[in-house]
Symmetry: C2
Subunit: 355 residues, 2 copies
């Protein structure tokens, strides 16, 4: 873990406990946890971005299953199986793009179903064990991503990152930032250009906050500055996370990633996508099949409640875009670094996805 | 002029009058003029972006010369000549990138010098005539740009624009938006994608405001969304203004323009730069010689006074970037549309720049 950084998720108590989420809508100004006691609490926290980042959302959703099951009025094996199914569909519907959400919820549902328990309390206990396991695994995956990616960073490297794919996006070191933390820990001098990442400003609010706490030198820029930094030779590599990666390597990530990747290509700068196995979705052949969430217009017209567009202004707010695989130099995963051709390297690396 | 849009600059009174500037830092929330009675008032208004946009800055600077000269304690031909020189250097130093500023100030200085007047009042009167002339000419240039550019817009065209190069950036119809206004007036249905243009949000605050007032359909997007709109085939052309154009066609414009132009090239979308003759600087051979203003970090970390980055966060804030000429499809000017090779087409069109 990173010193001076509060954990993103804490499960407090046994199967009667509560899910405490570091409320990321309040960062960097306030460090406050929101306490979720029901599946709906957790679903709402995911929806309003109190917790965000594909791996962290996956963990939160797994715990949401615990919260839902223990309140279930269902009984008997079949009753609880059906309850877990209904619940998983509900939790899954909070946000559409990150595959980790659906993947984690499905894993908990399958564990409950397999267990054949006949009471809500027992089902919740099974779900809790599975949620804890997912969280532990995701944490280990971050470490493995960090080890694999740290080799790509040289002394003096200037990294550009977009959005937040750091410790705040996962239960561990992060995905895109994990290699940076490990390389810095080994004494490498690095500098990170942080895209502010409009509209929700995950770069300005979250990535800057965690890099400053971890004492990694970082400079904030607007999203529109990446191109001129690249042209001036001030970016050595681009390192970003992912919300869902199709079987062919097409990658959905925070809106703006596609533009950054295209600009990097034009300047001969490598683009690395860091993601755990849980973010790959082999069921989707290509990026055009990834569902893209559209979020409220006021995230653009009035960020943080401060309106700066004229009243009545229309805005378009897709939360993600898809970077085609051919713009990605390599994937940094917990199964090692994957190079093109991606359909093959991804399939081989992911053979036992949940193993 | 555009109905329902207040003028950007008004000179109230004779040579004893005042320069009233629509305070664009308050838009779109409040329509208020700031009244400049001294050259320093005007310089400060330019510096803090109360007036912005290369042609509007040029006009404001010309009137700043009037305000400065009439308070001058100099007398005699040589004394006033020297006073005009000192004053022009001072006004010019308010912002470095837009060439219109230096060009307009120099034109007023030369007129005063040529006139050989020996009193401050007479020098101010000469300066006022010149400032009025510059404003009239710039207004006519906007109309000419509009006529030239309207031909490029078809029924149903989707235009993407960055920053504000509209009526609010000039004393007339605007530069990049002038063709849009003229085409709309002729009944063509158009739609404009408006980049919000971080950090100062000229797109969100100003371009949206004036397009909405002019009843041109417009949709606000973050700067990071241009690439995915282009990939989805939702942008037919890019139309932007300029702050300074070198003799070879390299163009300084609002930060982010270079990225937009590069993305447009990658998607086969034409990029048009609209600018009056006054924005071309034949004294500068190429873009790497254009001075680029760096502005305060808090425009990025705390826009409009609302801090969203962590306290102590470092930021880098270049206000402009340079788009190389080879990414520009054509220049739309008051002397017609200029195509490559630019060194020739620009030189030929600009033969009599002040004529």
């Amino acid at each position: 873990m990173i010193p001076r950084l509060p954990p993103v998720l804490i499960w407090r108590g046994g199967s009667g406990g509560a899910l405490c989420l570091l409320d990321q809508t309040l960062l960097p100004h306030r460090v406050r946890y929101c306490v979720c006691r029901t599946a709906e609490d957790a679903r709402e926290a995911i929806r309003r971005l109190a917790v965000r980042g594909a791996p962290a959302i996956g963990c939160a959703a797994a715990y949401a299953m615990v919260l839902g099951l223990r309140r279930s009025k269902a009984h008997g094996r079949d009753g609880l199986r059906r309850a877990a199914e209904t619940l998983s569909a509900r939790v899954r519907s909070s946000r559409p793009t990150a595959v980790n959400l659906g993947w984690a919820v499905e894993r908990v549902r399958a564990a409950v179903s397999r267990s054949g328990t006949g009471t809500a309390a027992a089902a919740a206990a099974v779900a809790l064990r599975e949620a804890h396991a997912i969280m532990q695994e995701e944490r280990a995956r971050c470490e493995a991503i960090g080890r694999a990616g740290a080799r790509l960073l040289r002394n003096g490297s200037n990294v550009l990152t977009h959005c937040n794919a750091g410790a705040l996006a996962t239960p561990g070191l992060g995905t895109a930032l994990a290699p940076i933390y490990l390389a810095a820990r080994r004494g490498r001098r690095l500098h990170v250009w942080v895209d502010e990442t409009r509209p929700v400003l995950q770069g300005a609010r979250l990535t800057m906050w965690e890099l400053m706490r971890a004492r990694v030198p970082a400079t904030l820029v607007t999203d529109s500055m990446a191109a001129c930094l690249m042209r001036a030779g001030r970016v050595d590599l681009v390192l970003v996370g992912a919300d869902r990666i199709a079987a062919n390597g097409d990658t959905a990530n925070k809106i703006g990633t596609y533009g950054v990747a295209l600009l990097a290509r034009a300047h001969g700068i490598p683009v690395y996508v860091a993601a755990p196995a849980s973010t790959f979705d082999l069921a989707i052949p290509a990026g055009n099949r990834i569902p893209i969430e559209e979020r409220p217009e006021n995230e653009i017209t009035a960020p943080g409640g401060h309106r700066w567009a004229p009243a009545g202004a229309r805005a378009f707010n897709p939360a993600f875009d898809v970077t085609p695989a051919n713009l990605i130099t390599a994937f940094i995963t917990d199964r090692g670094i994957l190079f093109p051709p991606y359909p093959t390297s991804i399939r081989n690396a992911l053979k036992n996805k949940t193993g």
